[in-house]
């Protein structure tokens, strides 16, 4: 099979991102310039995003290793948007960083490329390749502020655990391969269709462990809070958004297409894991006084909700996953974005302790409004995007009559409210904390601020008028291959 122009067009976003990465690398070699690097990265990402419009004309399309269909386009959009937000916020964040800053964008771009490959992989090799391309730069990003102990600790923890998870994933792949003799997903499907024995199931199970780690599903969640807390803000953002989106999309693809992932036992296992993830994630966050850790736990819980789509995996599932991912990404970007903005003017550890935020509203009302809206959205309160997501999840559960999962979602939400509200009310208390930290006065007119405000607006708009988003996701879901 040869690559045609159409294929190249279809791969345009990945190519563009890779090209940007190279460009940035060369630029750094030539002359370090923070602003220029940022702009270059942003332009590249924007071009990739725009190219998706062209890509859309040729979808669905397959190459031996990659598939560009509605799902991958959807994932790419989310990944690119997260990456863009990340870039802008990173600029604000790194402005006062003492040391070379430009490499961060390089790492970011590589990671984005990895995430895009992962999301559109239709072959175990690309899956593996994408995953590693996604993770490897992340180690660097997390440990970027390595003179800061927490950052280094986060990097090391993530590196080792992620490598172990990769080993699980690889071993699982090897087992599947040994059983079916195929590495591409359709082939795997055909090969496993009639003889899915214990080895194959074990393989599927081990792959689940590997991907579950990336999604920080209970019981593979312990790393998440530490890494989120220690890593620099922008890295945590990327970890919570793009990385998770890509891993989830590939897991979804696996579950929906590969027979080894469709057995009753795996379904049961997924149900139990989903329930555990929702409840444990929320419970862990209950009395958390560090905002970044809290967001990490919240993100764990949200992937618990999202796993309902893996369990059901037909009917509304794909659409639900799409809508939920959008609302989740927008919300998480905004929430972490605020943390990043507040942290940026200072060296040292990020401003993540809750007492830093006491009474923020009376100093930075709009910034606080954004954080409030994102907390409400995380809690799934109407008029925010999060509500639409939660609505979809519950609708899916009800439609499939998975009452346990529905019960879990409700219980989890109830527990979750407690800490979201705690954060919210802290922002509005009058008495300022001992060590208050503020964003710079002119935050609103700078790039990072604009992004955050835009995200807040998006949250509200999606919450109030979700019809276009729903229609778009529905359209994309309809053009899935497999």
């Amino acid at each position: 099979m040869t690559l045609t122009t159409t294929h190249l067009v279809a791969l345009l976003p990945i190519i563009l991102v890779c090209a940007t990465a190279i460009l940035v690398m060369l630029g750094i070699a030539w002359r370090r310039h923070h602003k220029a690097t940022t702009i270059a990265a942003a332009v590249g990402l924007n071009l990739a995003l725009l190219s998706l419009l062209i890509v859309w004309q040729v979808t669905p399309i397959e190459t031996p290793l990659l598939v560009i269909d509605g799902l991958s386009v959807f994932a790419m959009v989310l990944i690119l948007v997260s990456a863009l937000a990340c870039t802008t916020l990173a600029h604000a964040y790194l402005e006062h960083y003492e040391g070379p800053v430009e490499e961060f964008y390089l790492l970011l771009l590589c990671s984005v490329a990895g995430a895009m490959v992962l999301a559109s992989s239709r072959h175990l090799a690309t899956l593996f390749f994408g995953l590693e391309l996604l993770s490897m730069p992340l180690y660097g990003m997390l440990a970027y502020a390595f003179h800061e102990r927490r950052s280094l600790e986060a990097g090391i923890k993530y590196l080792i655990l992620s490598a172990a998870a990769t080993a699980f994933l690889l071993f699982g792949m090897a087992l599947l391969y040994a059983q079916s003799g195929r590495l591409d997903l359709p082939g795997l499907t055909a090969g496993l269709a009639n003889n899915a024995d214990v080895w194959a199931l074990a393989g599927a199970g081990m792959m689940l462990v590997g991907l579950g780690f990336k999604l920080s599903i209970v019981p593979f969640h312990l790393w998440a809070p530490d890494v989120y807390e220690g890593g620099p803000g922008p890295a945590a953002i990327f970890l919570a958004s793009a990385s998770k989106v890509a891993a989830f999309v590939v897991l979804l693809r696996l579950v929906m297409t590969t027979p080894a992932f469709q057995g009753e036992w795996l379904n049961q296992t997924l149900t139990v894991l989903a329930l555990l993830t929702m409840i444990v994630g929320n419970l862990l966050a209950l009395n958390q006084s560090d905002l970044k850790r809290l967001l990490a736990y919240s993100s764990i819980a949200h992937f618990g909700y999202l796993m309902v789509t893996l369990v059901v995996s037909d009917g509304l599932a794909l659409e639900t996953a799409g809508v939920y991912l959008i609302t989740y990404v927008v919300t998480v970007l905004a929430a972490f974005g605020i943390v990043t903005l507040i942290s940026s003017p200072y060296g040292g550890a990020d401003a993540s302790a809750l007492h830093h935020y006491r009474g923020l509203f009376w100093r930075r009302p709009y910034l606080t409004a954004v954080l409030t809206i994102s907390m409400l959205s995380l809690a799934g309160i109407p008029s925010t995007a999060g509500f639409i997501g939660k609505f979809y999840i519950i609708a899916l559960g009800v439609d499939a009559q998975r009452w346990w999962l529905v019960g879990g979602v409700i219980l989890g939400s109830a527990i979750g409210l407690y800490y979201y509200l705690r954060v919210m009310v802290t922002l509005f208390l009058t008495e300022a904390g001992m060590q208050r930290r503020d964003a710079p006065h002119n935050w609103g007119i700078r790039a990072g601020g604009v992004v955050v405000l835009g995200l807040a607006l998006l949250m509200v708009v999606l919450g109030l008028y979700p019809a276009p988003m729903v229609e778009w996701v529905k359209l994309l879901a309809a053009t899935r291959i497999g």
Binding site: I156, K157, I160, L161, A164, A165, F168, V198, L201, A202, G205, M206, L208, V209, G212, F213, V218, P219, F220, L222, W223, P225, D226, E264, W265, Q268, T269, V280, L283, L284, L286, N287, I415
Partner: protein, 621 residues
């Protein structure tokens, strides 16, 4: 007549209402005198309107109905704000406005120098308004309006001296105990409406005989429930305990509410609903028995009281017991007649007692009074006239005629037991009346307050006493309530036996007076000795506490209620829900322990998770 009934009838209660509104919206800008003027004038106008109404009624005696507006209209639930005037309501109207006016007038003297006169008159006027609504309402719901309204005003006036919390609690008790009765009445209303589909009293009385045969369980139940309401309001057994405590209010209040009008509302209710009660003879019988028991119980209790007002309070219970006795025999008109004379003489007694109390600087304990007859001749006269009426002194007193009528009806309708109870009660009545008068007015003054008594002055003080005294004599008995068309005709009997009964009753009354005079004038020492030791003392205490019923209720109802409240106070159910939150908290702490921050532990948990997943795979084929 120039003025039509549809204007006059509402005016009777709108005038007091206007008084209330003026007084309560004045925000304390009216002085003592102005308040009294407003309060008394509105009442006086109302009384004048009543006279006009009576004039018109006597000229053309028929039932007048005035509907002001439709109160509620939902399907066939159509109670209106409608008034009805017949002989019964006219009688009540006369008592309420007439006696009410006199008491208002007297109160202007009694209350002088007290703070909050405005409030006092506002409540008093509101009371009259409610009471009039009660007697004029043409449907049960409006009657209930008045019924509850008088209860509220009673509460407010008992608790008038709010600075002493006991007064507040007395008011509290009065309201709650009567409300228990009210609930019965309410349920009775629900039942009647459900069965008959109307709340209009005339309509109920018309439909009831068509619906039920005599003794039908449903109608008996309805009658029983209404009796419950009547018993509560009229302080009969077993809901009588509030009345003695209600004496905490100013004395004019006791005279108006707790003697002349409100407490007789129960009698009015049964008389008004006579059609229902006639269909339920067992319940009517029960009313008689309750009356008999109450009159005996209260008679004995009155013997052992030391507070001048409490004697009168128990005597009121006892006299209302007579009215119930009459109701039990189906002698509704006799009951209403006694109601009227009782209103006169008991109001007189209370006002005289009020005169004594104010003259003696708020001394109410009879053991600390005495020898007042010279210093307070008017009050003494009031007590003599009122007391003779209470004791039913033959021929000269109003009470004799009404009580005699009751006893006669018992005889005619073959209620031997009730008759005997009535006779014993008559003896007791004479006895405690004599005791009351002797202890208060004769002998030596036993305290400085009594020695320094200052007689009241002025027309405001004297006129009400004199008018009521006149009404308490045989003159009052000349007033015949026009009840022929409203209530069933009284039973007839042979005149000879009537005469015999009259002589016997007169004998009993005189005997009571004689024994009382002998005991309290001649054998005071002997009496004191026997009531302070041995079982005489026990009996004295027992009667003093009115047969210990209050204590019984305290133990059986109040304490358990308080206990329950104490147990529940912290909201047990909420606490149970709180356990869930505790559970979540514990889980949170347990799970937080797993976040050790140690890399190796994290790796182990990952391996453990993976192992569990693979094991699950092994277990599920």
């Amino acid at each position: 007549m120039g003025l039509s009934m549809s204007l006059l009838l509402p005016l009777t209660f709108l005038l007091p209402l206007a008084g209330t509104l003026i007084l309560s919206l004045s925000k304390g800008r009216l002085g003592e005198r102005a308040s009294a003027v407003v309060g008394v004038t509105s009442m006086g106008l109302s009384a004048i309107v009543t006279v006009l109404i009576a004039w018109q009624y006597i000229a053309e005696p028929h039932v007048y109905g005035v509907t002001l507006w439709r109160w509620i209209s939902v399907e066939d639930f159509q109670p209106s704000i409608g008034l009805v005037l017949d002989g019964l309501s006219l009688t009540m109207l006369g008592i309420i406005t007439g006696v009410g006016f006199l008491i208002h007038l007297f109160a202007a003297w009694y209350m002088q120098g007290e703070k909050g006169i405005t409030r006092f008159y506002a409540y008093m006027n509101l009371f009259v308004f409610s009471m009039l609504l009660l007697v004029l309402g043409d449907n049960l719901l409006l009657l209930f309006f008045g019924w509850e309204g008088v209860g509220l005003c009673s509460y407010l006036l008992i608790g008038y001296y709010y600075e002493h919390s006991e007064n507040g609690w007395a008011a509290f008790k009065a309201f709650v105990v009567t409300r228990i009765g009210d609930v019965f009445l309410a349920i009775g209303m629900f039942l009647l409406f459900f069965e008959l589909g109307t709340l209009d009293i005339a309509e109920i009385l018309r439909r009831a005989p068509q619906m039920w045969a005599e003794g039908d369980p449903t109608v008996e139940l309805a009658a029983l429930l209404m009796l419950g309401g009547a018993v509560g309001k009229s302080a009969q057994l077993p809901l009588h305990t509030w009345l003695a405590d209600a004496m905490a209010g100013p004395t004019p209040v006791s005279a108006l509410i707790h003697a002349a009008t409100m407490v007789t509302a129960g009698v009015y209710l049964i008389a008004r609903m006579n059609g229902i009660f006639l269909l339920a003879p067992d319940i009517l019988e029960l009313a008689g028995i309750i009356g008999a028991l109450t009159l005996l119980m209260a008679g004995f209790a009155a013997l052992a009281q030391t507070d001048i007002k409490r004697v009168l309070a128990y005597s009121t219970m006892s006299q209302i017991g007579y009215m119930f006795l009459a109701l039990g025999a189906g002698a509704f008109d006799a009951a209403v007649f006694h109601l009227m004379t009782h209103a006169f003489f008991k109001a007189l007694l209370f006002l005289s007692a009020g005169a004594v109390i104010i003259s003696c600087h708020h001394e109410q304990d009879m053991r600390r009074l005495g020898g007042l007859w010279k210093r307070l001749p008017l009050a003494y006269a009031g007590f003599i006239v009122g007391g003779s009426a209470l004791a039913a002194l033959p021929l000269v007193s109003a009470g004799f005629y009404s009580k005699d009528e009751i006893l006669w009806q018992e005889l005619v309708t073959d209620h031997g037991g009730l008759l005997i109870a009535g006779m014993i009660g008559a003896f007791l009545t004479s006895l405690y009346t004599v005791r009351l008068i002797i202890l208060t007015f004769h002998g030596q003054p036993k305290s400085d307050n009594a020695r320094n008594a200052e007689a009241g002055r002025g027309l405001v003080h004297a006129v009400p006493l004199i008018v009521l005294a006149l009404l308490s004599t045989f003159l009052g008995a000349w007033i015949t309530p026009p009840l022929e068309n409203v209530l069933p005709a009284p039973a007839e009997g042979e005149e000879f036996w009537h005469l015999v009964l009259e002589i016997v009753a007169a004998g009993v009354a005189i005997a009571g007076i004689a024994v009382g005079a002998w005991l309290y004038l001649r054998r005071r020492g002997w009496l004191a000795k026997h009531t302070s030791s041995g079982w005489g003392a026990w009996l004295w205490t027992f009667w003093h506490h009115a047969w210990g019923i209050d204590e019984l209720y305290d133990r059986v109802l109040v304490k358990p209620y308080r206990g329950l409240v104490r147990i529940l106070r912290s909201d047990i159910i909420d606490g149970a829900c709180g356990l869930l939150a505790k559970l979540a908290w514990l889980l949170h702490q347990g799970l937080s322990r797993t976040q050790t921050g140690k890399l190796r532990f994290y790796a182990m948990s990952m391996v453990a998770g993976a192992t569990l997943i693979l094991l699950a795979l092994a277990l599920v084929p």
